[in-house]
Amino acid sequence: MSAVMSRTARLRHPVAGTLAVAGYVVMIVPILFVVATAFTAGSTLRFPPDGLSLRWFGEAVAYTPFMEAVVSSLQLAVLATGLALLLGVPVTLAIHRGKIPGKGLLEGLFLSPLVVPELVVGLALYQQLMIGLRLDNFTTLLLGHTALLLPYAVRVTGASLALADPALEEAARGLGASPLRAFVTVTLPMLRPGLISAGLLGFVTSFNNVPLSLLLQTRDFRTLPVTMLDYVQQSYDPMVAAASTLVLAATVVVAIVAERTVGFAKIFGGINR
Amino acid sequence: MTTPAAELVGVSQRFGSFTAVDSIDLQIPRGRLTTLLGPSGCGKTTTLRMLAGYSAPTSGRILIDGDDATRLPPEKRNLGMVFQSYALFPHMTVADNVAYGPKMRKVPAAERRRRAGEALELVGLAHLADRKPKQLSGGQQQRVALARAIAIRPRLLLLDEPLSNLDARLRVQMRAEIRRIQSETGLTVVLVTHDQDEALEMSDEMVLMRSGKIVQSGAPRDVFPAPADRFVAEFLGYENFLTLADGRQAAVRPEHLRVLPADTSAATSADGGIVLDAVVLDVAYRGVDLLVTLEATDPAGNAVRLLADHRADTATGPTPSAGDRVRLLAPEARLAHLSADSTAAPTAPTTAPTASTAPTEGIS
């Protein structure tokens, strides 16, 4: 990887090439070491590992708190993503196609959860909803995650909608389709890449979230990243490396799905190769 | 003979298995304006970019002022390039754009300003020096690009379809403008175009390209009346192709094919030209003249469809109309004899009523 980078880059520009290689090393190499240490047969987190085994993978899968947390995080991520799309797509339609005043302000409002630090939002939800209104932590987490994902739903599908020419829907109407029919048969298919992007991005964001979820944990319902974080802080064994490697593998699957459906780079917007 | 300003020796450019430029030899005469002319995709831009140093030839050598420059990076070649998109730096003023080249050459600031002013004066834009490129019209941007290229006092000025983004009137105006600048500065200019009118009007020397090869070159006065083959003839607006009795190929322009009454005696044309009996298929009114489509049998006995421009004010005889039997005359002096090679273009345009205008495929 960095060999190729350095070869193509150094030929062009030695300084830029060296910086780029350094950047890739910082981004990628620590992740590789996680994978390497996960296969250790020893009981400490060290490199090079003491022998090879799958022992820690077994332990990670058998460790109930992790497995429960996986289920909880999946539930939360799927529900929050679905809800955010369900609420966000109508908002996008209203903003882009509706005749309402203050569209810029509205869009800004729906993007605002991105601006406030997530930890601060978590604190607010903890104080006001969990302590103040005595909501249970799952409901609070769902509310918070959905609000956090709304900006993705509104912005990413909005970008697709902006590409869809309103004249197409008008053409469908002229050909005899009802407004609903025109929307479903013409506009919705054009929104598909946006919906998939927003869905994948939302799912991953929710599933990996720490700062927002951090203060909203209880014994009954804990999310995976926070559980792993706590575990690492207490003990320092290769089981987390194994769990991390499993998360990495799952993420690679998500990335492949993304590449196959809408194109990996396009998910993050602005990149059209 | 003086060394040419630039010379390509057996230069090829391959992209994968595709050969965009196929072993061409070309000499660019000093102090003259040379055009590279050819249809879209024939390799004109590729040739110019290799000359400028933006891409290295796959094989062959490039000499500039007699020195090997094949591997020289563009910044060391000192050639002024005007891009089709102009490529003006949007974050700099017009003056800074023009002064950029001198700045890279470490010319002191005052001298830089003077030179930029001079170059802008030459293109008539000195009054817009403090504008940003976005605040200029297309024609003005084009002149700035020209001034910027001239300000480095280039050994060659390279222009890639410099006029194709301008509207029709401005385009014609700029042809004369570029000629004027060329003669005032005495620069060697290489200009790429797919417009044969442009090439004919502007060139000292024109080079016709097809599929990465040079098919003909020479002064417009020499090339125009004597296209080497059918491809060049078609490209230069010859619409009518005949096989003569002796088997040779000849081309005639529609404006040189005279439509006469059917009873005109063959003797009138005893100057060695060709006389054909024909039937008028269609007559289209075009203001200055009529475009007459005819069917005839050529001297070799093939049925051919021909186009003739008929000017009612200078022609003799009645105005032709569809169904008329007429006699066609192609004077010997107007017959272009083509080399018998196989370069005949696959699509014969004789059925297209485009008359004497250029094939339009080259507009990109």
Binding site: G23, R46, A147, P211, V232, G270 | Y100
Partner: protein, 273 residues
């Protein structure tokens, strides 16, 4: 679409946004449980004069600035090499730079424990080669936090810069070269100024992310290298000092808003200049 149906599309999303984000956020700032806003303000005043608290704020800002600078210095070369390269590898390298955005922060940060820990790669290497007798303390230092945050935010810097560079006409580079500029000259006089708006956006995102990140300072900084985020968590969850938690949240939010505001102004000025 008529105004009434637009409103109908808008309402559910708006309601959710209010309950899950806007109202709690506002309520927390002004009325944490059992504390008055005056007490929050008083606590904030104390914070801005107390050397310990000031030290945390300054460390947060300092780390944010260093990380931002590093991400731009490493990210822009990567972005410009990828955007300008015609190599078939550039797509793979781009994907590799973006992939970490999908991967859990916990997993990514955990990698540094393996690299920097007392039995970690670097320690082993240094002692193994006999360069030092005892592995130096790398973990729980500011250096560790900086490395972790650069790893976290470099992908963001890369894709933001990539979009900016991709929008600059490559013909401009060539024009500069033809006028006598070397690669380096062309880079600084054409590519950098024209990508500057994108660089400013990238810097803002990285800074805002760095000063609010939790996982990295928690795992790599420990209790000796507190940042605003870890401090906030400790007030909210360990000492349960609502006034201090709210005050810290306000400081953090103001910091982020301040930098976003400045960058918007800079961007606007750049656009009109």
């Amino acid at each position: 679409m008529r105004a009434r149906s637009s409103l109908l599309l808008l309402l559910p999303g708006l309601a959710f946004l209010c309950v899950g984000f806007l109202l709690p956020a506002v309520a927390m700032l002004f009325a944490p449980p059992g504390v008055s806003f005056a007490q929050v303000l008083e606590r904030m005043g104390a914070m801005l004069t107390d050397p310990y608290d000031l030290g945390i704020i300054w460390r947060t800002v300092r780390i944010g600035l260093i990380v931002t600078a590093l991400c731009v210095v490493l990210g822009f070369p990567i972005a410009s090499l990828l955007a300008r390269s015609q190599s078939r590898w550039s797509g793979v390298l781009l994907a590799l730079a973006i992939f970490p955005l999908l991967l859990s922060n916990v997993v990514r940060t955990f990698g540094w424990l393996v690299v920097l820990g007392s039995n970690g790669v670097i320690g082993q290497l240094l002692t193994g080669l006999g360069i030092v007798d005892e592995a130096p303390q790398l973990l729980y230092t500011e250096l560790a936090i900086v490395l972790g945050l650069v790893q976290l935010f470099l992908p963001l810097a890369v894709i933001t810069c990539y979009s900016a560079v991709a929008q600059v006409d490559p013909g401009l580079d060539e024009a500069a070269r033809g006028l006598g500029a070397s690669r380096t000259r062309a880079f600084w006089s054409v590519l950098v100024p024209l990508s500057l708006p994108g660089i400013v956006v990238a810097a803002t995102l990285v800074f805002a992310g760095s000063v609010t990140a939790y996982t990295t300072p928690y795992l790599l900084g420990g209790s000796s290298q507190r940042m605003l985020s870890t401090q906030l968590f400790s007030y909210a969850s360990v000492t349960v000092d609502w006034a201090a938690a709210s005050a810290t949240a306000i400081v953090m939010t103001v910091l982020v808003f301040l930098v976003s505001g400045i960058s918007t102004l800079v961007g606007r000025k750049g656009a009109t200049a």
